[in-house]
């Protein structure tokens, strides 16, 4: 017992010393992130997603290898940094997730509406998250270059901008309330300015990401969903027009930014 007591005493002394050595908050957070960067659990989703892409699944027992993500059937590298974009076959502007829903339904025979209604992290939603991680990872290091050649793509960018600035709810929040200026933060989290290119691997160019707080892989749809939750808005539908329009707006603003997705986030 005496042993233990002196150990605690020693601990207290050392703690006093540690205070002197304590770095500033910003330095401390930077140090924490540097320690985390090595070994991103998103890799677990990436390898799972690669397997799912190639695996014959669903009522039609087919793989997704014929899925056209915008660069031709089965082409994965480079596809992520050009999404959302217009697809002639569905006559819609689609982000990666709504596009995957279309492919899973058309090729594999899954019920896209049922997957869209499945809670995040469960069932086919969990598989979709892994697919997103795999497809995003295949464009890591590439620059965002969303096409704006189609009238629908330009329109969605304009609508997305308006959705971004739309203030409502009991707290009067819009996306812009937190994301229209650089150098701001909530608590200790820096907020990217999403009205312009916030930089390589920042903001739009960092998602999907492994969320340390929940230990899960968050896609852009889930990221937006939680933004809207904290905006105190009603619940945005998975792959809803508002979410896709926001993706086009943010993606067009982020043109030229290098994708770091899937990244690791608090």
């Amino acid at each position: 017992m005496t042993q233990a007591r002196s150990l605690i005493a020693a601990a207290c002394l050392a703690a006093a010393g540690a205070v002197q050595a304590q770095t500033s908050t910003a330095d401390g957070i930077a140090q924490y992130r540097a320690l985390l960067a090595d070994g991103n659990p998103a890799e677990l989703w990436e390898i799972k997603g690669e397997g799912l892409w190639k695996q014959r699944r669903g009522p039609r027992n087919a793989s997704l290898e014929a899925c056209d993500l915008g660069k031709g059937p089965g082409v994965v590298p480079g596809a992520f940094v050009e999404l959302p974009r217009f697809f002639a076959d569905t006559r819609r502007v689609q982000d990666l997730e709504s596009r995957l829903l279309s492919c899973m339904q058309a090729l594999q025979g899954f019920d896209a509406a049922a997957i869209a209604a499945t809670p995040f992290g469960r069932g086919e939603q969990a598989n979709l998250e892994a697919l997103v991680a795999y497809i995003a990872a295949a464009s890591r290091g590439l620059r965002f270059n969303l096409p704006q050649g189609h009238a629908e793509e330009r329109k969605m960018a304009e609508v997305g901008k308006r959705v971004f600035f739309f203030r409502a709810g009991p707290y009067d929040f819009a996306c812009a309330s937190c994301h229209d200026a650089a150098g701001k933060r909530i608590r200790l989290q820096e907020l990217p300015n999403l009205t312009l290119n916030p930089g390589d691997g920042v903001g739009f160019a960092a998602w999907p990401a492994y969320r340390v707080s929940s230990g899960e892989l968050w896609t852009m749809q889930r990221r937006l969903n939680d933004c809207y939750r904290q905006q105190r808005f009603p619940y945005p539908g998975y792959a809803s027009d508002a979410s896709i329009a926001l993706g086009v707006y943010m993606g067009v603003q982020a043109r030229g930014a290098v994708s770091s997705a899937p990244s690791i986030k608090r």
């Binding site: 090595d38 070994g39 659990p41 890799e43 677990l44 390898i47 799972k48 492994y210 230990g215």
Partner: protein, 103 residues
């Protein structure tokens, strides 16, 4: 069924740096679900790493190892082409073993 581990093993200065990511909930047993019921602890208890079949490192883990655990260690005298095996067992008796070749 558990998801596969991600093992990266890189030859470096007369040894190999091994980085392992495991897919596991690592539930603490301290949390409650929406209905207020305690979610039972579910975590990896024992880990073992082997070089070409010979155990080189073992570990025992409690509930305070982070979800989707990451571990890094250095195997002496290992070279490119050698085989690293990592295995774990959890408190429910689930187990998993994955391999990687040192690059």
């Amino acid at each position: 069924m558990s998801d596969p581990m991600r093992i990266r093993a890189q030859a470096q200065g007369g040894g190999a740096v091994v980085r392992v990511l495991m897919s596991h909930e690592m539930e603490t047993g301290q949390r409650k679900d929406a209905a207020g019921k305690t979610i039972p602890a579910w975590h990896i208890t024992e880990v073992s790493a082997a070089l070409n079949g010979k155990t080189v490192l073992t570990a025992q883990w409690g509930t305070a190892i982070a979800k989707n655990p990451f571990t890094e260690f250095v195997v002496k005298g290992a070279k490119a082409g050698d085989k690293i095996t990592v295995s774990w067992v959890d408190n429910r008796g689930d187990k998993r073993s994955d391999e990687a070749v040192i690059a």
